[in-house]
């Protein structure tokens, strides 16, 4: 019985590791292809090892323009969506008001709507209102689909927060602004940062909605889509690999910081949140 249980445990873990391999495979291929010199423009097969793609990532200059544009759009959309979404999360968690369920539906619906429908409906709006499509219509669209994800992320952090810390601050004669600045904000900040990172990655990687609202503006995913028909330059894989490395680095750093904070807690007891913020 114990043996079969042990086997059953391992069986699940082995399957899990195989599935993780399936998830990792394309990333490994992208990394490998970033060192590839393709035999022809339309070939996707590995041909010959080279460092050229990494030495000259901007050999095809329109690709780098597209990357820069995606970063700009991602940055703008992230800032606006994070501010709007955080305010909404505060209203939903901290206040009782009429119309809450309507607001919940309004926030939930964009996440339950296929991107295709959001993209085409915005296109229908912009065309009928005579708005020329380009950089700013993309930003507007990205803010729209990022807001809901920000709300959900910040809301989760706020809901799990100990209200007694704020009450303690007020008991110690902090006024509302001080309490917010020194207690609430530092405690919610990890949630806001996570939401902003999520918004940026959603915006940077969005293709479907952008495709319908870009006019002639080309973002990185739009460049890749166009290039897929004409033949993909290997530098695309350099960008893909670099993006992956940067994201992995961010995750690694944040987990390292978390671990150090936990260790510090073990040594000297939990740091006072107010002290940490100063």
């Amino acid at each position: 019985m114990r043996l079969s249980r042990w086997l059953a445990d391992r069986w699940v873990m082995i399957v899990a590791l195989l599935v993780l391999g399936y998830l990792a495979l394309p990333i490994l291929v992208v990394a490998a292809l970033s060192f590839n010199r393709p035999s022809s423009r339309l070939s996707y097969d590995f041909n010959e090892f080279t460092l050229d793609n990494w030495r000259q990532p901007c050999a095809t200059s329109d690709m780098c323009d597209a990357v820069v544009r995606s970063v700009q759009i991602g940055f703008l959309a992230t800032v606006v969506a994070t501010v709007l979404g955080t305010l909404m999360a505060f209203a939903l968690v901290r206040h009782r008001f009429r119309g809450r369920s309507g607001i919940n539906v309004l926030i939930f619906l964009p996440m339950a709507t296929p991107e295709l429908v959001m993209g085409t409906s915005l296109l229908a709006l912009f065309v009928s209102a005579g708005v020329p499509q380009g950089f700013w219509t993309i930003v507007i669209a990205h803010v729209m689909f990022c807001v809901s994800f920000v709300v959900v992320t910040v809301k989760a952090r706020l809901a799990g927060m100990d209200r007694r810390l704020e009450e303690a601050a007020m008991d110690l004669y902090a006024n509302e602004w001080q309490t917010f600045r020194r207690i609430t904000l530092p405690l919610v900040l990890p949630g806001i940062v996570a939401a902003a990172l999520l918004a940026f990655s959603l915006s940077f990687d969005d293709f479907i909605i952008t495709n319908f609202n870009a006019g002639t503006t080309v973002t990185f995913p739009m460049y890749v889509w166009g290039a897929a028909q004409r033949g993909i330059p290997p530098q695309v894989n350099v960008i893909g690999t670099a993006m992956f490395a940067v994201a992995l680095l961010l995750v690694g750093l944040s987990s390292l910081r978390g671990r150090r904070a936990r260790r510090a807690n073990l040594l000297v007891g939990p740091a006072h949140p107010a002290r940490r913020s100063s």
């Binding site: 699940v12 873990m13 399957v15 899990a16 599935v19 993780l20 998830l23 990792a24 394309p26 990333i27 992208v30 292809l33 097969d45 590995f46 709007l84 305010l87 909404m88 209203a91 939903l92 009782r96 008001f97 919940n104 309004l106 926030i107 939930f108 964009p110 339950a112 709507t113 296929p114 991107e115 295709l116 429908v117 959001m118 085409t120 915005l122 296109l123 229908a124 709006l125 009928s128 729209m144 009450e167 008991d171 509302e176 602004w177 917010f180 990655s201 990687d205 479907i208 495709n211 990185f220 995913p221 890749v224 897929a228 993909i232 695309v236 893909g240 993006m243 992995l248 995750v251 987990s255």
Partner: protein
Amino acid sequence: MTLLAPTRAGHPPPAPPAARSGRRRLLPYLLLLPGAAWLLIFFGVPLVQLAAASLYDPSGSLSTGYAMTWAVGNYPDVLQAYWPQFLRSFGYAGLALVLALLLGYPLAYAIAQKAGRWKNLLLVCVVAPMFTSFLVRTLAWKTILSDNGALVGLLRDVHLLAPDGRLLATPFAVVLGLTYNFLPFLVLPLYASLERLDPRLLEAATDLYASPVQAFRRVTLPLSMPGLVAGTLLFFIPASGDYINAELLGTPNEYMIGNVIDSAFLVRLDYPQGAALSFLLMAAILAVVFGYLRRAGTEEVL
């Protein structure tokens, strides 16, 4: 800046002047206003516009303008013309969902219950694919499934694939791509549910002579239901509206409804038809979503 609600009983707040309490009542609306307005203007209004566009006179064009004629006939027309792509979308998405459940459930279970100190690392591995571009990842499958690739060579050698058989440009490739691209959306909520599962419940079931299969069916599965429902939705919605996998890994024979909508709007510039198709897709998906939500409750999914 009063983001805090009035303090709870036991800490009587300083008696607020009447004007201040009015501001307090207004505050949540002020906080909600910018975000809600953005969503209403750029999500709500466009949907109405899309609904209107789906009823435009189909004989109009972008250059001559469209007339609103309440052309309800657009709907049966597009259904008749594109029902195979509709069926294919839901067929492929459903098939991919089954595959994703078979792959994703053991993965989520292993991370939640068996990984111990490796839990966070394995979770990072689940979301890692999303660190790089969706399109670049999907193109990588073109390399993996390529006719000259190692995988096709191996399958041909062991006669699982005919000597001239291929993987790329088949329904198999499209379903595989869909499964791959949306699997993390299924695994993460499922993991969140399974992580809260108390292993002592399983021990209790085993002590009461439940076989492993019975324990799974009667304890694990029901307790993971909220995550399963949320994950299923998060997987199925984008998968059934996707057209990137069909375009990059398939051929026009594998085109899904998304490909038709894309070309209606961007190539054929037939807005009434594209709008009607979008609306039908949305209606079909919402029917599925609300069917599920009735069983799970909105807050749970959020």
